[in-house]
Amino acid sequence: MATTKFRHVFGRLWGFATSCKKRTTSSSNSIGTRILQRDVEKEEFQFASTLCLSSYYSVFVVRLAIMVMLAILIGLLTILTWHFTKIYTTKSLNSLAYDLRYELLQRPILRMWNILNSTSEITIAQVKLSQYVIRSHGNLTTQEDQVEMYEAMRAVTWALFASRKALNSITVKYNNGFVQAFHRDIKDNNTFYIYSDLANYSIGASGYNSELNYSSLSSQESSWNDNDNKSTVWYRQPLDPVTGEKIEKAMQIAPEDSIHIAGLSQVPDGVASWRVAVSKFTDSPLLSAALPVWDSSNKSIVAVVGVTTALYSVGQLMKELVELHSGHMYLTSLEGYLLATSTDAPLLDNSTQPPKLKMAVDCENEVIRLGAEYLRRSSGNKFPPSHEVHVANVRLGHDRYYIDSFFLNLKRLPLVGVIIIPRKHILGQVDERAFKTLVILISASMCIIVIGWVCILILTNGVSKEMKLRAELISQLEARRKAEASSNYKSQFLANMSHELRTPMAAIIGLLDILMSDDCLTNEQCATVTQIRKCSTALLRLLNNILDISKVESGKLVLEDAEFDLGRELEGLVDMFSVQCINHSVETVLDLSDDMPKLVRGDSARVVQIFANLINNSIKFTPSGHVILRGWFENPNPCSDNANFLMEEKKLQYAQKTIRAKQHENHAKRTSERDKKAVLWFEVDDTGCGIDPSKWDSVFESFEQADPSTTRLHGGTGLGLCIVRSLVNKMGGEIKVVKKEGPGTLMRLYLRLDTAGDATEQHCLVDIANNGLVVLLALHGNMGRSITSKWLQKNGVFTMEASEWNGLTQILRELFHARSSAGINNGFDVHYPIPESLKSRLLSIQEIRNPVFVIAVDIGLLDLSTDIWKEQLNFLHRYLGLAKFIWVLNHDTSNTIKLELRRKGHMMTVNKPLYKAKIVHILEEVIKERNHEMQKKNMDELHESDYTHCDAASSDDSDISESAPCNPVSSTEKFEQFDLLSRYRINNCLIGLTDEHSEVKTPRKEDSCQNNHNSPKSMSAEQAYFPREAHQGEDSERRGKEEHRIIGGLARPANGKKSLEGLRILLAEDTPVIQRVATIMLEKMGASVVAVGDGQQAVDALNGMLGVEDFRRDSNLNERNTRSSSPQTEILSSPSYDLVLMDCQMPKMDGYEATKAIRKSEVGSGVHIPIVALTAHAMSCDEAKCLEVGMDAYLTKPIDFKLMESTILSLTRRTTS
């Protein structure tokens, strides 16, 4: 378990080290690979990598430091703990041990002291008693007296001897040489009385003695010695130890065998003497004391008393003590002779006779010997007096000992006590414990250090991981910031580029327009220029797409909310695309249900863009077949079930949709219910190659195409559908690809648009039913024909269909020959078996009373490749009287055909595609014609006036659709008059109207888009202006009977009437150059201009005007007529302005301030003078600022002629009409 753990830890450490290495190597590698990249990147990378490495190193160092510090800390703790436990214990123990040793030694010493004391006392007592006895027997005259005295002495001495059991002997030696002694043999427990033979001592001796008493001490001594030397007879008589009775007969003994008798020699100076003696009877040293007995006169020594005490009891005590405490003790004399030991070792050297005391260093006990040797070594031979030795840790032999020596300074008998106690006895446990503690502490601290290291490793590992994560997070954040910055750069770049790119594009297109309007181009040049024009337009469209995407992505796209005619927009769109489709033999069909609201609110340009993109896409991928744009209306109010159904359907199909989208949906639903928004459903159905179901979602991503090869085959960037989806979502709708039967793609989308006014009011068309109409649709495209037919039948119109020439002829024959029975035979007339269904239809037609036949003939049905079409035309011409012919022309139908048709009186021509509105108009016209047949004579005139109207409408309205009904009321007769219009135009220009329109339309459309980017407001203004423009054009046409067109941004000088004729414009501009240029431009457009230098002047000029406003209104009409003739005087007499062009940056008062002031002064007057900002700032924030202060539109410098014109027109129309 432990090993595995250890291995794990080791593995971690190893892993850490290797990973460090790897990091360094990998980073250096990658640095190496990146070295070729840009410097900045490299530097950044190096910086990052060094940062990374340094952080790793720092982590490593910090780990090491923490580990080392932990180790040091724990080591210190261990040592301190050990130290304190050990030292303090040892110290206290030592002091205790010292006390113990002291006490231990003190006791034998005390015993010794006691012994000495008692010996001394007894000696003194004996002396006193002896003196008393001797003095009482003062005059020893006789032997008897002497004996009596000796007897008395003996009794006294015995009494004393018996009283002290510890005494070894008491001796009394008289000056006459007589000896009396009691001796106790401790070994045998015998008591002896030893005395000398009394016969040898005479009275004379006593006399001699008395004589001696007076002699000098030296002489006395000599006499005593003499006495000793005499051979005397000594007796030893054993006694009863208790009673002292003689129990045996006295035995004669040699004096030398006797005990040591203290003699005069021992008391030479008359004071007590102490010595340690050895006797042969005992194996322990004896302590002997001797005192002289003085005579009464205190002049002479009468006797010497000696007392000996065995030191045996001291050794005994020592043994007892040592048994208790172990160790050894001994007492020595000052010279080093052993007096007592705690051992049984003999104290006497028996090898000599008489035995001598042993030196301590010669002791048989090893410990004592070694201790003594040690002491002698340490203090030298000369033992210092009053010097105590205390050594705590002495190695003697194998063990350690305490050695203490105490000096007992007794007078005449100094003693040294030594105690040797094994260290083990006192500190044995302590040492053991200390050692164990140390071991435990060290091992514990090692464990702690190891565990701590592991913990630190793990913890710091986590920290380093976290650091790594943080570093990554930081780098991610950095990267994100950079990405955001670069995206910001992107949008800025796009915003800047938009201007930079579109300006030259606009210039190119404008110049091309100018070039195309030039009459002296050859056909070839014209074709080339047209091609260039198309390419430029395509390029501009691409640019606009990209800009749209960036705009949508950045969320800057703001949808405008204006009322527009959805149907008309879509018709225009289909018209536009049908031109493209003709080349592909693709049929473009518009199929809008009748309940579609006519007017809706929303951003028409964006709605058109959606369908334009979708249809464009469909056409691109549809080589043949049809493209149908279907639309129907879903009223959300009455049928919440329906909405639920829709929701469910959506849920089913978009199960993977995000919650946000659902919320969005719900939100959209709620808002739609609240705001009564109409849900308009559309389908774009084509018969192209289709989209793989797996790509149904991804095709809406930007730069995503269903098939990568499409770019090569069809071009495009893959932005179109992305824009569509963004826009659809923005309009609260959704788009998806729906499964369809058969080949092709079916895109279904719905939009939520506000319905303006009564949604269904406009549906009711002129009652085309019940007029006995029979429509023969001889159209090429199956889809369009069947849809039209179905719709007509639904509306109560009888229809028949023919898809090719033969079918047409057959039906015609059946229809009319059955009626008129006028058999006509020509080459085209071939009999075919008529199908039963047709027959039944024919039959039912024949039941119709007074039918009106309308035959819509596709020009494509005629054989145009050869001249046969003329014959066919002639054939059909025969039916002119019987039926109304509507010629459905292609855009590229040649003028010869048109001319021929016109020549034959086929006036009603219409361009493909034939959608509802056109049919309605035609049929209405047919009905009207029938109803007013009597007015047929005046037809030419009618046509004329209608033509002018239509032409104006179509030319001015060409931005939207070249032949869409520009005005629901006025354009009803347009199509019928189309041929006339064309004829009229041929006078001016050989280019067909339709061609020209199709060419002119596109740039205008693009331009308007461009305007839209710069200023949505002006765009809306422009759009609002178009219908009015139509009126204006109409008016001017009527007046001048001349065409007025704007091409390439320049008014044609040939036109008498200028676009801004009669307008009075106040120009506030400080820069003289711009002022001049703008003035000329405006004057060129026919406006009269008053230029002022700053905002203050502009405000002043306008304030003057407000005063005369009423007047101006009254005289408005007159002025209109007369102003052009004398504008200058008009300005002076009536300084009133239709519009202000305001530079934003001016001295004194800038444009914003001036506008504010003007708006302020207008408050309450009900007047609103249009103010157009002129600024060099092209940023949208400036635009917002302009609009905020109350300006109506916004023009950027340099002033674009056309843009300025259209802006001014839109604003002035709005106010004046």
């Binding site: 003289p1072 150059v1073 001049r1076 431009m1081 530079d1143 060099a1176 410098k1197 340099p1198």
Partner: protein, 151 residues
């Protein structure tokens, strides 16, 4: 007549070179289109106006930038004016330098401003000489009996 056509060609070449080299842009074309019988000297007039205006502004700018503490807002306003007028006659190189100048102004970069001023002066003198040459050529052509510019 040969002389006239040659001169005409020269003039055209010169004009197109001016466009190609970027001295002038579309705006100048517009100016030329604005010139007609009622304003026969329109282009010259406007350009002269521009010269006067530009010289005044350049003087002001030089003065402003020589001062100790530069009033960047005033400088910016001047440059803005110059930009407007140059863009109105289509002197796009001057206009471009003006844009750069304004950026420097925003950053309050004195060195950049001075550098831009020098550049503007240079560009201005260049475009001035070019335009004067152009007008001279036009005049000669007119004197020689040719019709004006590119009609």
């Amino acid at each position: 007549m040969d002389v006239v056509t040659q001169m005409q060609r020269q003039l055209l070449q010169y004009t197109s070179s001016l466009f190609k080299e970027g001295f002038l842009d579309d705006q100048f074309n517009q100016l030329q289109q604005l010139q007609d019988e009622s304003n026969p000297e329109f282009v010259v007039e406007v350009v002269t106006l521009f010269f006067e205006d530009a010289e005044r502004l350049l003087n002001e700018l030089s003065k402003s930038l020589e001062q100790e503490s530069i009033h960047f807002r005033r400088v910016d306003a001047h440059v803005h004016q110059l930009k407007g007028s140059s863009s109105s006659i289509g002197a796009q190189r001057v206009q471009r330098v003006c844009i750069a100048f304004r950026n420097f102004c925003e950053q309050q970069n004195v060195e950049g401003c001075l550098k831009s001023l020098q550049e503007i002066k240079q560009e201005y003198s260049l475009v001035k000489t070019k335009l004067e040459t152009l007008f001279k050529m036009e005049k000669q052509l007119f004197a020689a009996g040719g019709s004006s510019v590119s009609r």
